[in-house]
């Protein structure tokens, strides 16, 4: 670049880059740390381009928005269970006795300027955070991106998903409104249901019997400090491993297992990523401003003797709530001991779910005897068995999720709740094999039409559509390469 002679006029206006403040600052840092080489490597880092590779990025941006809005909220929220009388500006609740936690959440919503929009952006960001993590997980699963050498990042990713779910639950449980209190009641009972240690765990977590004097202040520290700190640590590791191992890419001309084809990080990719961050934040700001979420003033302060109909958790806990509803009324009792009903859907199912999720890369490698490194992604249709199993699993959790809304569905469509729940009980057994079989047939059909052999290495050029597009592009390439040198 320095070799390009600038026109005289321009040279007079600017004194050259070496006088810029940023330039001098970079030199100052470099002379102390020697960062130029590393920074150049970073600039030239190659990232493959595909829309589905943005899903994890989207989650990262949601997390940033969560941290920024969350910090603002902590300046006003007080996680205290002290009883106070509400005297704020929301008329219907004036004079009502409530906890300081609920009062400060109301104050934050009605009397702190920009407080409500921040609270609502925070909540929407949590919903979108979990959604993007879920879809990112699905992308990684269905394209086989979890295979060697990326099992570590799969494990970190699963842990991040669990932490995000828990922190979402803890977050909306802090406000001590009627809905969050009901949620905590269920959390307490599920903890209580664990054999042998349940009563101890529940007592240690809540500081005693439900409602427990300490639960809100403890969840607060966990929600704003512990879990976010662990998330930041794991996220850093997730990204560091991604950089070290380089991103996977889809098959295409010139794309092999021993290279990575894509855009350089600087400047295009970096600019697009920055743009996506702003667009994600814009979406969240719009949702937070215009669409009401978690209107705690309608629910009222928590009263353990009351509950409102249609109490639903946030969407990402819906599958667990649905599992609690769909589970038949069974429990195990013997010799005066018992394993209560909520243990099976609330602890066992959740444990199995995440246990299987963690184990998947190792199970698949074992069954397929494929221990080789993979940097080229599968198309879902190329792996009918994996895709079918994945879709069967998705259908199972979708049925559970819908089961969590059984009462709302009943009210909306004028049906009997019992009939709906019985339907879901059968569906959660019938849907997975059916969906799995249909998916398997579809994969076979599609890959037969492509002429792509399934479950084997795919040579480049066999992916129609992509191929043509890339070849058109190729012609433009030498030109831009020449300009670059």
């Amino acid at each position: 670049m320095s070799g390009v002679p600038a026109p005289e006029a321009q040279r007079r206006r600017r004194r050259g880059p070496e006088h810029l403040l940023t330039h001098r600052l970079a030199r100052w840092v470099d002379s102390r740390l020697g960062t130029a080489k590393l920074a150049r490597t970073a600039l030239n880092k190659v990232f493959p381009d595909h829309w589905s590779f943005m899903l994890g990025e989207l989650g990262l941006y949601c997390f940033i928005v969560l941290v920024l809005t969350g910090v603002y909220l902590t300046f006003f929220f007080d996680p205290s269970l002290n009883q106070v009388i509400y005297r704020g500006s929301y008329g219907p609740l004036r004079g009502v006795e409530m906890t300081e936690a609920y009062r400060s959440a109301l104050e934050l919503s009605f009397d702190v300027r920009a407080g409500l929009v921040m609270r609502q952006i925070h909540h929407w960001a949590a919903l979108l955070f979990l959604a993007s993590l879920g879809v990112h997980l699905a992308r990684v699963f269905f394209t086989g991106a979890f295979r060697r050498p990326r099992e570590l990042n799969w494990i970190i990713g699963c842990t991040l998903l669990i932490l995000a779910m828990l922190n979402g639950l803890f977050g909306y449980s802090l406000l001590d409104d009627q809905l969050s209190g009901t949620g905590l009641r269920i959390v307490y009972s599920i903890t209580l249901s664990i054999p042998l240690v349940g009563t101890w765990l529940a007592s240690l977590l809540f500081g005693g019997e439900f409602p427990g004097p300490d639960i809100i202040s403890r969840l607060y520290v966990i929600h704003i400090l512990l879990v976010p700190a662990v998330i930041v640590g794991l996220l850093t590791a997730h990204l560091a491993i991604l950089v070290r191992q380089k991103h996977t890419h889809f098959p295409g001309p010139g794309r092999r297992d021993d290279n990575v084809v894509g855009e350089r990080m600087w400047p295009t990719y970096a600019a697009k990523a920055l743009g996506l961050f702003f667009l994600t934040s814009a979406l969240l700001a719009f949702l937070g401003g215009v669409f009401q979420i978690n209107p705690i003033w309608i629910y009222g302060p928590f009263d353990p003797a009351e509950v409102s109909a249609a109490s639903q958790p946030d969407w990402y806990m819906g599958w667990l709530d649905g599992a609690l509803r769909i589970m038949p009324g069974w429990e195990i009792r013997a010799f005066g001991f018992e394993i209560p009903n909520p243990f099976f859907p609330g602890v066992l199912l959740a444990g199995l779910t995440f246990g299987l999720l963690y184990a998947w890369p190792f199970l698949e490698a074992r069954v397929t005897r494929d221990y080789a490194e993979h940097h080229l992604l599968d198309r879902p249709r190329q792996r009918p068995v994996r895709t079918a199993l994945g879709m069967a699993t998705v259908s199972f959790y979708t049925v559970l999720f819908l089961g969590g809304a059984a009462d709302v569905l009943a009210a909306t469509f004028g049906l009997s709740v019992n009939a709906i729940l019985w339907t879901f009980r059968f569906l959660c057994l019938l849907a997975p094999p059916l969906v799995g079989w249909v998916t398997y047939r579809l994969c076979k059909e599609l890959s037969a039409r492509d002429g792509v052999p399934t479950a084997s290495n795919v040579t480049v050029g066999q992916i129609p559509g992509r191929l043509r597009h890339r070849e058109e592009r190729k012609e433009a390439e030498p030109e831009s390469q020449a300009l670059r040198s």
């Binding site: 920009a114 209580l192 380089k246």
Partner: protein, 302 residues
Amino acid sequence: MTDLIEPDVTGPDGAGPDREARGRRVELTSAACFVVATLASIALAVVYWQGGQPQAEGVLLAVSLGGIGTGIVLWAKHFMPSDEVAEDRHPLQSSEAEIAEFSADFEAGQSTLGRRRILVATAGGACAALGVALVFPVRSLGPRPGRGLKETPYRNAPIRVVLESGNPVRPADLEVDGFITVWPRGHTDAADASTLLIRYRPDQGFEPVEGREDWTVDDIVAYSKLCTHVGCPVGLYQAQLGLLLCPCHQSTFDVMEGARPIFGPAARPLPQLPLALDDEGFIIATGDFSAPVGPGFWDRGR
């Protein structure tokens, strides 16, 4: 720098003056986005200064962020190089020589450690003991789960049942098919003691559980309000059918038959409270519930 950023638009109108005009249009659009974002930010500050309005704040913030985002994306898509380059992957694994060198250095150090067997053993023991000792403060987090889960304030029976206001209840306060929530006197804030009083119709076919024939007064029966599933308040009463429904997970209890669960995930009946009348004609509880209230736990039956 500008020399490099030749637009790389691979659309149908790829070359010539058309392309230049298009580039100009995109540049103007992108610049307009940034200008709109600036205006929205100013408006946002004004709205806040004037007292704030959540919807306006959200929309203006969205326009501001969206303007910047759209501007950057247009800029990147049209005026930044979009050439595809290939980078080689190098084996992630260390070479055998590197591993051997590492092993040699590590083992050289390890052998000096290994020679002090007593130190290794005692140091290990000390760390383990410290680890165990540091677990103990966990115990401070909560009290030992004792009788509390199996008892309620009704254990001090006979005790009057009262409304949330603290007022005692006479049978006449309850209409036929009516139900109210009551607590033991002095414990209206006890989460485990909320109780449903239900007045069934005399001809509704109420069947007392064996041994509880005298637990009702004037067709009024009392059950714990906490669902035996996960402890939600069982707040819906279908008087015609004599069914109690939990709104959380749809467990259904038959009031006429000892509140046994007839649908949903609950596996145990709602515990019943023995009722009687005191000298002044107010309803009292003559004992604690027939079983521990609320959700099940490991040693509930002990």
